[in-house]
């Protein structure tokens, strides 16, 4: 990492949004932010504000009522942004497959970069997904900086 990269580097902030999950993954996302798993050591802080967020952690299969809200949130997040689908239902809608009020996964509504499997996704899996998202996000921020120069 060069000097300019170091100066330009910053911590990716997290926006967590539940789009109709059973709360199982949400709890694990919260466990992720708390002492035992602590993703703050990678710089991830939950800001719950789309305008300041870099990485979106989305849980849930996206219900019809949440669909527009999710799209709205996604559009408010500044580039470069990353979406992480946490859990089976966010990835494919699995446990709620063919339920009448769900969109069967986050990627049916907004583009997803990292999928984390599990019902509920275990914190270890979420950390793994988060680290993957982190390197992807750094690549993209670097590409964006280079494009500006």
């Amino acid at each position: 990492m060069g000097l300019m990269d170091r100066i330009g580097a910053r911590s990716p902030w997290i926006l967590h949004f539940d789009t109709g999950s059973c709360n199982g993954c949400d709890l694990e996302v919260w466990a992720l932010l708390t002492p035992r798993y602590d993703v703050e050591r990678f710089g991830g802080v939950n800001r719950a504000n789309p305008k300041q967020a870099d990485i979106l952690l989305i849980t849930g299969p996206v219900t019809k009522k949440c669909e527009d809200r999710l799209r709205n949130l996604y559009e408010q997040v500044p580039e470069p942004k990353l979406v992480m689908a946490c859990g089976n239902c966010a990835s494919t809608g699995a446990p709620f497959h063919n339920c009448y009020n769900v969109c069967q996964g986050v990627d049916k509504v907004i583009p997803v970069d990292v999928y984390v499997p599990g019902c509920a996704a275990r914190p270890e899996a979420l950390i793994d997904g988060f680290v993957k998202a982190l390197s992807l996000w750094e690549e993209r921020s670097k590409a964006a900086r280079e494009a500006r120069e």
Binding site: K64, Y100, N101
Partner: protein, 117 residues
């Protein structure tokens, strides 16, 4: 449509609820169940000092039913849920509690003919 029920019985819902309220019972829930012949069975379930008490009424699906939401404020959402999920009608209450009108399927818990009764 079967005829094995009293068509006017539902007029007694409010009297029943008033009696239960005076006895200090707590309303647990209002269960709607499609009987498969365009009639719906409403089960009003109460907790009377730890004992479960239920009152059952059969109504036609299109029938407007008296609301008990002025007797029990908590009944409002229970009745609205039945409006959304079973396409029922309750006096003075509207749809849109759980479903998004126009986007979600209508009355998802009603039995469709192809599924069989």
């Amino acid at each position: 449509m079967s005829d094995d029920f009293d068509r006017d019985a539902h007029r007694g819902i409010r009297d029943m609820a008033r009696g239960m309220k005076e006895s200090g019972a707590r309303l647990i829930t209002v269960i709607g169940r499609d009987r498969g012949d365009d009639t719906i069975e409403l089960v009003y379930m109460f907790d009377q000092g730890g004992r479960l008490v239920d009152h059952r009424f059969v109504v036609e699906a299109e029938q407007e039913v008296d609301s008990i939401s002025d007797l029990y404020s908590g009944a409002t959402n229970m009745e609205r849920e039945n409006i959304d999920l079973l396409g029922m009608r309750f006096k003075g209450l509207g749809p849109g509690l759980l479903l998004v009108p126009g986007r979600s399927v209508e009355a998802p818990l009603r039995k469709r003919p192809e599924e069989g009764a």
